[in-house]
Symmetry: C2
Subunit: 397 residues, 2 copies
């Protein structure tokens, strides 16, 4: 009489987590300096100093009944105001504090948004490969379909013919994740304008708005000349889902939001549906201390020096060896083509022969590639290069 | 195209929250000392000093990447061990760290448990009036039926004939909430033994286990000679749902757990289904800093002096006036009979005439009564007594 679906979800092994655990075990045998673990997307730079300073200040200076008491269901008023001000100042986004719903992290934000714009198994949400496989889980409660647009293997922007083919009268939303997990690619403004034009045309054709769900936890992680285009300023019917997991290095603290900009069609109903859905999944009244902390740190920006150095070293070293990859302008991921064309075999051999842990992206809708999470130490990257070289030569000699 | 069900949930006014907000507005007009707000169940005693000391110690002494990084999906290993040790030491409960799933609070724990033991709209979960109305929301995602057993108005234990009548071949679980919200009543050991005997008999009759879902956030809030019976030591098929919201005064921090004791039938499947369900509602990897804090404070017990003084003063004053009520042995609630028999009318008059804010318990399955949350200041209680007296006299003169 136990629900089999949930037993399966609870019991299902995580390939990424398994790799990570293998690395921990191997580190005991060969020493941590000889394990090159590119598996997890866990920030390797600490939270800005102001985060911990604020935590200490709050517990020393504010009534503990307030600090640790229930927050407002959809997030504290002052926090929602701070979020809206930050978004409007930086992006002129049209954010309204009364249309922001604070959530327990970005997955909760995505889940509540999909619940709000769908109504059962006939409805479809589109994602563009390569994509974050947690999106499958996001469809679980709304029980709608995840439609996958094949990757643009040329430059990892968007294959528009394939996208248009996947949109139909059941499409309720399109998830746009830029900078992208797993590719690290930032969609150009031209790409975003093309999506907007296509969705405007399709919305008109079907007579209802197809929303863009902008999944933006990596928004602040962008390097060199690349620019993250602010989607709501180009496409009105955009809902923004965010968390401070990466930008403030707070992934464990479960704090994010849904923002329904003022220009969004049916915005009032959409917003209250997000609040209702968030309530149903128990994501209301998100962690109280950390709401106050992020409010105080809302204008902090991450110091990307370490990630950028890692990116440059890894990109230059791998391309010099001969590896091909997507242009890694954002997040802390690289999507690299496996020279043998079989990412699972590549990952297994790299693991067993070199303690080099890389994630095959078959489940990200991108077979034949591997994801490297370069949120590791600079030395790990430096020391891992010979292993990458041997792997390349093994498959191409 | 917006999901109407969630719009309704998001938009629906909360009677309790409305009362609370009315109180805030009135406080600006008549002064906070003249508003007697018994609406919210928000702890009025601060978290133990060790909580904030531990927070400061952690941010000063532990790598921020660890403190604020992702926790294990079902909670940190050391935290689950600390929880199991605490439960076994105090209750000899048969808790196993590998069958504890840490969640973002108790509602998430209840939701994951109900999702784990049900499979659609034919399945039923039984609750005993008076009961916490948030249970309706808990049934939302599993889409199962909440079956209500009418209250035992004699002594607010359990009406066993009514309970037996409500159990059928669709019953999957029975929620037992003791100390009870809203009555403050603690179920006696005799009551628990009778439930256990009934459910054992019914489980045998139907050929599958009917689980008790022990909803225990008030477990440590008990006064005088009253004892909270540890249900899993009496009924094997009990799942414990808990949060530290009340015992450590951390309601805003969203931290709780599901414990599937080792003796529980189908315990492995049940546990992994809870983990899978918790993952689907996004309650995995609960807040990381606060996991470490509660782990360090796991043996802290609340200082109940203030609540007990409030309870004594309020109980003695109200009974002296003539009010009748359930015996308030636990939690920080009292369930008081409205002398006019109409709780909504009583509440409205009390609010408008006396700024006395009391919650009608019609939606708690107990019409004609009001809930008083006495987690307020002692002075509030003292100063509110004349208003209670006038209300009583108005309806009985």
């Amino acid at each position: 009489m136990i629900n089999k679906k949930y037993v399966k979800i609870g019991n299902s092994p995580s390939a990424i987590r398994d790799l990570f655990n293998y690395g921990l075990e191997q580190a005991k045998i060969v020493g941590p300096e000889n394990v090159y673990d590119y598996s997890l997307g866990n920030p390797s730079i600490p939270a800005p100093a102001k985060v911990n300073e604020t935590i200490k200040w709050l517990v020393d200076n504010v009534d503990p009944i307030k600090v640790h008491g229930y927050s407002a269901a959809r997030g504290n008023d002052s926090f929602r105001e701070a979020i809206a001000n930050n978004l409007n100042k930086r992006f002129n986004l049209g954010a309204n504090p009364d249309k922001i719903c604070v959530t327990c992290g970005c997955i909760a934000a995505l889940t509540a948004t999909v619940m709000a714009i769908t109504d059962g198994p006939d409805d479809e949400i589109v994602t563009i490969a390569p994509f974050f496989p947690a999106y499958y889980g996001v469809m679980g409660i709304p029980r709608c379909k995840l439609t996958i647009v094949p990757a643009d293997f040329e430059n990892f922007q968007i294959n528009f013919d394939a996208l248009e083919e996947k949109i139909n009268e059941h499409t309720r939303g399109v998830i746009i994740n830029s900078p992208n997990n797993p590719s690290g690619v930032v969609y150009t403004e031209d790409t975003i304008r093309k999506i907007a034009a296509l969705l405007e045309r399709k919305s008109k054709e079907y007579g209802y708005p197809i929303y863009i769900i902008a999944d933006e936890p990596y928004r602040e992680l962008v390097y060199g000349d690349a620019k993250v285009t602010c989607i709501p300023t180009i496409y009105d019917n955009t809902v923004v889902c965010y968390s401070w997991s990466k930008s403030l290095s707070l992934p464990g603290e479960r704090i994010g939001y849904v923002c329904v900009p003022d220009k969004c069609e049916n915005g009032d109903d959409l917003y209250w549906a997000v609040v209702g859905a968030s309530s149903e999944i128990g994501s209301v009244c998100p962690p109280s201390l950390i709401q106050r902390v992020v409010e105080a740190c809302i204008d902090e920006m991450p110091d990307l020096t370490a990630y950028d150095a890692n990116r440059t070293l890894l990109y230059n070293s791998l391309t010099e060896i001969g590896y091909e990859m997507a242009k890694p302008d954002g997040a802390f991921y690289m999507l690299v083509k496996c020279p043998n064309g079989d990412a699972k075999a590549f990952s297994t051999r790299a693991k067993l022969e070199h303690n080099l842990l890389v994630v095959p992206t078959d489940s990200f809708g991108c077979p034949g590639y591997m994801r490297l999470s370069y949120c590791v130490s600079y030395d790990t990257i430096k020391n891992s290069i010979p292993a990458f070289k041997e792997m390349y030569e093994y498959y191409t000699k």
